[in-house]
Structures are given as structure tokens and as C-alpha cells.
């Protein structure tokens, strides 16, 4: 099967599993297929997202990449608006605009890769150079800083990792990374003083959750208990004390993996992980076969985003990563994230399609060269 078709199938299956998982822990399940229930809303977002998919799959990604600056400044504008007019959520962080329906930091996950592939392909002569490293770093740190100020530690980390991924994929060397390490270390030391107490707490409790089992360690422990209680085969669909009796916090968003594992067990969990892994493998294949630098960079940056999110989210569910509020792609409840993820699939599908045509040509040329 061709990459684009497999990608599409995997994304659909993941979205479906997400709906299933959200349904199983929906606190408003009785409301049925309406906007009152979480799975009802997620379904709506799926419909909306997949219509966006058509748009992104049809428009040539190179057109979108060429508009890099436009996206970038729109992003800065939206993030600025969040800081000025933003609405707070229950943790006191201002992340939302338009009455808690849109989370602009989520869109950074699609815009930053677009911008970076644009910026790098434009300056491809300077790869790899210290000047480019610093300049790209500057452009990345603007939105990352704004998101960090919201504060949204998780997303700013994701974007930072996108930049690091870009440096790595595009071939920056050891010395460059040493410099980056130094720089991030310095910034980290400064940033630590800006961290809110609850964020510091989260980072600490990650190290030893039993230190404060009722407080900040609570989530981590409950999700591990949920996964452990699932055992090999799980407690069954719609059962499991942890998720059904609501011991597990954020069981339809950040900790959906744990509630999934409690119900479906080790086997269900592995199946989900393998699906995600397979999805990322396809993304890497698309990147490898992309016809141009823009496509290669774009696809691989999306790959970096996905891997990082999966790693952090699943890791946090299993108590090996700090609780940072990063959702599980396609599966966690959340409209903005889903729409962005489906749009990314659209772009990848787009790249895979154009890649297919070019690859034929390349191969011909390659044969010819040999």
C-alpha cells in the first residue's frame, strides 16, 4: 500500500480509538450524541478536522510553505492576543481565546514546522552554520517565550523540541548542539525562576510521587495504579474502578492512555502504542520520499512533534515523564489539538502524493546517473 493511503487509514483508526476511549470515560455519557457529552463534541471536532484535511490535502504544501512569514506573524498575533485578552482555565493559565474554544498554542504545532521548513529552505546555502542556528533560534524563541508566559510549559517544550529536531534533521553537527546545550542551560537557569510554583512542584513530584501522594503526586500515582490494575487483558470496556469511579484525574484528556489501559490492559496499550509507532514510521517514510527540502523538513518536523508528544504523554501516564499537560495525539479529548493533528495529516498526505510523482522521476534520474 502506498504511504498516503496507510497514513490516512492509521489516522482514521487513531481518531476512532480516541472517540471510543473518550466515550468510555465520558462524565456526561448520558447526554449521548450531543454537544453536552465529551465524545459528542469530539465527534464534532473530528468532522470539522477532516473537512480541513481535504483542504490541506488538496492545496500544494509548497504554496503554504511559501507563506511562512504570514503564518508566523499570524501566530505571534494570536499568541499576543492570548496574553492580552486570553481566558484562564482551571489552573489559572491563560491559554484560550474565543470563549475557551480555541487554544492558539496548539496551532503553533503546525505553524512553526511550516515556518521553519520555509526559513531553512530559503537559507539552505547556510546549512549548517552558526549564523543560521542563531537566527532560526531567535525566530523560534519568540513564540516559545509567549507560550511559556501563558504559561503552557508543555507546548513550549514541544516547540523547542521542534527546533532541536530541525537542527538535527537538517544536519547540524556536534559543535552546534554543544552551543545549543550551553544556551539552553543558561536560559533554563533563568527560566527556572519564572516557573510557577505548581510547575516546579510537578517537576519535583515526577521524581518521587509518593512524597506527596495526595497533592501533586496524586495524578501520577493514580494513572500508574490504573495501568497496573488493567493487567494483561484489562478490566473490560466501560469497567475499571480508576476511570469509572473517577479516581483518575483528567481521564479523558491527559490521562486517557491510563484509562484506556485499565480497560484494555497491556495488550490494548501495546496495540495503541504500536499504532502510534507505525504512524510515525510512515511519517518518516514520507519524509524520506519527499521530493524537495521543504517537504522533507516539514514531514520530519511533524514526525518529531508526534514522537515527542507520544513519548511525553505516554511516559507521563506511566510515571516516567513529568506531568506537562501534553495530550496524546488523536486520542486525547480536545478540539484544537485534534483539528491541528488532522490538518497535519492533510499536509503529510499532500507531501506523500507529490513525493510519489517525484520519486518516480528521481529513481529514473538515479538509475540514469548510475
Amino acid at each position: 500500500m502506498r504511504n498516503d493511503k496507510i497514513l490516512l487509514c492509521l489516522a482514521c483508526v487513531l481518531c476512532f480509538l480516541g472517540l471510543v476511549a473518550i466515550y468510555s470515560v465520558d462524565p456526561a455519557r448520558e447526554a449521548g450524541w450531543s454537544m453536552q457529552s465529551f465524545f459528542g463534541r469530539q465527534f464534532f471536532w473530528n468532522v470539522f478536522g477532516w473537512s480541513l484535511f481535504i483542504f490541506f490535502a488538496l492545496i500544494d504544501y509548497r504554496v503554504l510553505v511559501k507563506l511562512g512569514w504570514l503564518w508566523y506573524f499570524l501566530l505571534l498575533l494570536a499568541l499576543g492576543a492570548v496574553l492580552v485578552f486570553g481566558e484562564s482555565d482551571e489552573t489559572g493559565a491563560r491559554r484560550w481565546i474565543f470563549s475557551q474554544s480555541v487554544q492558539p498554542s496548539e496551532f503553533a504545532k503546525i505553524i512553526l514546522p511550516l515556518f521553519l521548513s520555509f526559513y531553512l529552505s530559503k537559507n539552505r546555502e547556510n546549512i549548517p552554520s552558526y549564523a543560521l542556528l542563531l537566527k532560526s533560534g531567535f525566530w523560534v524563541f519568540l513564540p516559545v517565550g509567549l507560550i511559556f508566559l501563558e504559561p503552557d510549559l508543555g507546548t513550549s517544550l514541544v516547540l523547542l523540541v521542534v527546533w532541536l529536531g530541525m537542527l538535527f534533521i537538517s544536519g547540524f553537527g556536534r559543535n552546534h548542539f554543544a552551543l545549543v546545550g550551553l544556551g539552553l542551560g543558561g536560559i533554563g537557569a533563568v527560566g527556572w525562576s519564572f516557573l510557577k510554583d505548581y510547575q516546579k512542584e510537578r517537576l519535583f513530584t515526577f521524581l518521587d510521587p509518593w512524597k506527596d501522594p495526595l497533592g501533586s503526586g496524586y495524578n501520577v500515582l493514580q494513572s500508574q495504579i490504573a495501568i497496573g490494575a488493567g493487567g494483561l487483558g484489562g478490566q473490560g470496556w466501560l469497567s475499571g474502578k480508576q476511570s469509572q469511579l473517577r479516581f483518575l484525574p483528567a481521564r479523558h484528556t491527559d490521562f486517557i492512555f491510563a484509562s484506556w489501559c485499565e480497560q484494555m490492559g497491556f495488550l490494548g496499550g501495546v496495540a495503541l502504542i504500536l499504532l502510534l509507532g507505525f504512524f510515525i514510521w510512515i511519517m518518516i517514510r514520507i519524509a524520506r520520499h519527499a521530493p524537495d527540502l521543504e517537504g522533507k523538513l516539514l514531514a520530519s518536523l511533524f514526525g518529531v512533534i508526534f514522537v515527542f508528544q507520544v513519548l511525553v504523554n505516554v511516559g507521563m501516564n506511566m510515571g516516567v515523564m513529568p506531568v506537562t499537560g501534553i495530550p496524546l495525539p488523536f486520542v486525547s479529548y480536545g478540539g484544537s489539538a485534534l483539528v491541528v493533528n488532522v490538518a497535519i495529516v492533510g499536509l503529510l498526505y499532500n507531501i506523500a502524493n507529490s513525493g510519489r510523482k517525484k520519486v518516480a522521476k528521481c529513481r529514473f534520474r538515479w538509475d540514469y546517473q548510475q
Binding site: 539552505r124 546555502e125 546549512i127 529536531g165 538535527f168 534533521i169 537538517s170 544536519g171 501522594p213 495526595l214 496524586y218 500515582l221 493514580q222 500508574q224 495504579i225 490504573a226 495501568i227 497496573g228 490494575a229 488493567g230 493487567g231 494483561l232 474502578k241 480508576q242 469511579l245 473517577r246 479516581f247 489501559c261 490492559g265 497491556f266 496499550g269 501495546v270 502504542i273 504500536l274 502510534l276 509507532g277 510515525i280 514510521w281 518518516i284 519524509a287 524520506r288 524537495d292 527540502l293 522533507k296 523538513l297 520530519s300 514526525g303 518529531v304 514522537v307 507520544v310 513519548l311 505516554v314 511516559g315 506511566m318 510515571g319 516516567v320
Partner: protein, 585 residues
Amino acid sequence: MIWDEKISEEIQHRLTVFGWICFLIFTLLVVRLWYLSVFQEEWYKEKSERNWLRIIPLQALRGSIYDRYGKVLAEDLPRFRLVLLEGSMDVKEAQRKVKEILGEEIGFQVKDMSPGEKVLIEDLPLEKVIKIEERREELPGILVESYSHRFYPAEEVLAHVIGYVGRITAEELKNLSSSGYEVWDTVGKGGIELFYESLLRGEKGYRKVGVDALGRVRSVLEHSPARLRNSLVLTVDLEFQEYCYHLLQGKRGTIIVGRPTGEILVLASQPSFDPNTLSGGLTTQEWSRLVQSEKRPFTNRATQALYPPGSIFKLVVALAGLEEKVISARTSFSCPGFLEYSGKRYYCWNRAGHGSVNVERALAHSCNVFFYNVALALGPEKIVQYAQKFGLGTPSGLDIPGEKASLLPTPLWKRQNQREMWYPGDTLNLAIGQGYLLMTPFEVYRLLCGVATRGKIYRPHFLQAVLNREGKLIREVTPVLEREVNLRGETWDLLLKGMELVVTQGTGYACRDVPVNIAAKTGTAQNPHGKDHSWFGGFFPVDQPRVVFLVMLENSGDGSGEAAHAARRLIDWFLKYRGLTDEER
């Protein structure tokens, strides 16, 4: 182009490395998942088991008690308290938050309630309840809970009949645990509350909450409110009871008024206690002060105190004498003021003597000498036998607990209990209701009932009807004929005539000029510890008795005095406010 290709090559290489990194990441995730859910499954399963449901019981709603006209005698009033579900918050923190919301200092009375709940504040005023309910989002794990508080509007007036409620004791729990009682339950502790516990007891509610391994309440899963089951209607007439209770004011004694067929309208006993303070929970100190009080306020003087009945007992002697034909209507004895028997003088209360008296005059003037003679002719066994025919000496089955039975002494009893032989003087004492004879005022009242109905003994009762949850009548108590004393009509006629003469000519002059014919008997019981006890009992109207009454006042002297006057006032009150025909308002 050369740039492109060089970069492309590098990128392909880096992508391969990236692929391996991803492979490594996913392998590690799977390994960790295996570690948690397969390798350490047991440990986490056990942790999850300890995340479980907790059932928090809600105190049952107790049935109300009404008087015959629907006036409330006891009811559960809603009160509010602030409850902290344990584990959801620290008590200190909860107190701080509540204070913050109420915006003022408030006294906390933190105490354990049922398992899993702590009371923060009892009896929270309504405006504070509203304040807290408005901001309940900020107080997870803190609930405003309504609970019932037993309220007795009649206070002391009816305390001995109604009783009171209290926290179940360890001993009660042992006996009742099979019927689903638990440590924190409230049960009836006396009177109607205790006797009809099974009817009054409500249905308990409960709240099911999910609690996690760490003891925190995560969610309220189910809530079933407490409900009441039955309410009781008593035969008591609260207004009349209040009047009679206040007639006793400042005295020790009792007034019983009822129907000859068993309904009891009034049972007042002084001194009394306020059941509200008992149900509110007394301190040990207050409790022992009440119990040890010399006035013995908890003793129901109608059913739990034994007194010599004095001359009222002459009714039994007269009946026995007439029925056994020891005397007849024409039998007369001469009373010189005393009876000389085996060299000893036994005096009449009137040392001047009554002259020649027949049975009617003897009753009317309560002549001791006449009854000495009758008693000597009958012998103590016969007298006691007649008393027993009326059910005296055995508890009547009245529906309040703790009823005592009279002591009817016989030679056999004396031999067994006093290790002494029976002297003729004992018989003479028995004839006038003195000596070893002890009766509860309630048994004297039952005797009067038996006389009023000419020997039909109905079971006395307070319960008139049982209502269900919706207030519909589900059971009504009808008169139960317990036993019948079959005597000749002539015997009854003579006795009633004599009792009528008590009022019209004799010692019951206080009740003269009442628009109905009253049959009554006075009693003056000598009391070795102080002034005589004063008795006055009877019924009216004579030809068709509707009301039986008995007044007993400790240490109040002559029965024709204070007791008779109190009786007169209650008869007047009854005729004025209730009447004989239109009494069932």
C-alpha cells in the same frame, strides 16, 4: 542543485538515525507498560482495590407523634450541619475556608459522626447555610447536611408519656443489632418513643461515595435520603393534659384521666423533665444531676411509684363483702370511733365515731370501722382475690414501658417475704388500704375504670392510630376487653350508690354542685415519712360513665382536701371545654 543533493543525502541519513531513535523510544514505552501492567500487576491491583466505595449512612427520620386532635407532641425538625467528608480536606484547612466564606468567626464543634464524616458545625443557621450553598464549588468535600432534631413542643408536660430519644447504648445495640441498628443510631429511651420504637423508627438513607486508595472522596455516586415511615396519634388530649399538669404545679403527684374503655386522655406526673434537653444530648454531669435528684423527675408517678391507696381500696373490700354476702344492703355496723379487737383498739379516722353505718354511708363517709368488720369477716385472701379479679397486681399492658405492679399482701406472701405470720391487725390495715398494701396510681385508676364499666376491664392504651408516610390512617386502636368481673347487679348498684353519696353527702364535698352525677372515692394514705398522701378518684356521669379520673398528691393531707379540689377543677374544665356529648370535636 549540488547543495540540495548534499543536504538531501545528509537528511536521509539523519532520518534513518531519527527512525532508530523512535524505535528505541517505542520499545522503552512498551517495556515500561509491560512492567506496570504485567510485572507489577498485583501490586497495582491491590492499590486499586483500596480505591473503593464508601457508604455514609444518613440518620433516619423518626415518625411524629400527635395528640388526639392532631397537635404535635413530638416531631423531627430539620436542622443543618456542616459535614466534612473525611479525606477530602484537612480539618484545619476546611475550617479556614468556611470561615473565609462566612466572613466571620464561627465556633466549630468538630466531632466524629458516622464513619467517614466529621461534623464541623452543628445547628447551622439558615442564612449561613445559604451563604455556603452559594459558594459550594469552593468547598469540595464539605456538605451542608440536613439532619433531624427531635422536638417536643409540650416540653415537660407530657414527658413521662412521650419519653425521649438518645444515642443507642452498647447494650441496646446488642439486643437490636439484628433489626439493623447501628452504633450511631438514635432510639427511643422511654415512654411512647421506646414502646413504639419499631413503628416510629424511620428508614435510613445513605450516601455512596467513591474513595480512592489515598482516602480522598472523589465523587458522590448515589444519594438516598432518609425517610420516615409511620406517625402515631395518641389518645392524649394535650390541652387537657396541660391544664392537669399545671394543677399539680409545685406538688409531687399524678393525675390520670381517661375513658373507661381504655383510652387515656391525661397522664400527668410531677415533677417532670424536659425531653428536649435529653434529646439534645446532655453532658454526663447534667445527666447524673437529673438522675440523682431527690425529686426523682424521671419516675412516672402514675405507673412507677407505689403508694398505699388508703380508703380508695375500700371499694374492693365493699365489693368483696357484698358479693360474698358477708354484708348486704341492710347490714349496719356501729362505729364508736374505734374497733376493739383482741384487746387492741383500731381507730376510725373520725374518733368521734359515725354511729350506725350501712355500706352506702360507710363508703360516703369512709368509715374505717365498717370496713374493719367486713374485712375480718372476709379474710385477707378473699379481699386480695377480688382485687386480682380487676387485674390488680399484674401490669396492665399499658403502652409505655416500666409499669410497676401493685403489691397485694396475703398471709402466704408475708410468710415468704417478711418471715412473719399474718396478724389480724394486718387484715384491718388491708381493709383501709394501709399496711403492706402498695398500689400504683395507675392501678387504682384501673380499678375505678373497672367499677365504672361494672366489671368490664379494657386494656388501657395511649395509641389511637398509626399513620403512614403520607399521613393516611393505616391502623386504628379499638377497645380491647381484657377480662370481666362478673358480679351481681345489686353489688354494683350498691357500690355506685355509695360512691355517688361520697360526693353528695360525704368526703367528696368538693365536687358537689357539678351538673353531672359523679361517683368518687377519697383516700388518705398514712405515710410514715411525712404528711398523708391525698387521693381522689371517680367517674362521671354515673349512669353511663364517660370519664374516669384519679388525682394523687403526695404529702397533701386529707383526700377530701387538695386532691378533691384538683379533681373538681379538672371536672369543671372538662365540662366547659370538652363536654359530655360534643367532646369529639
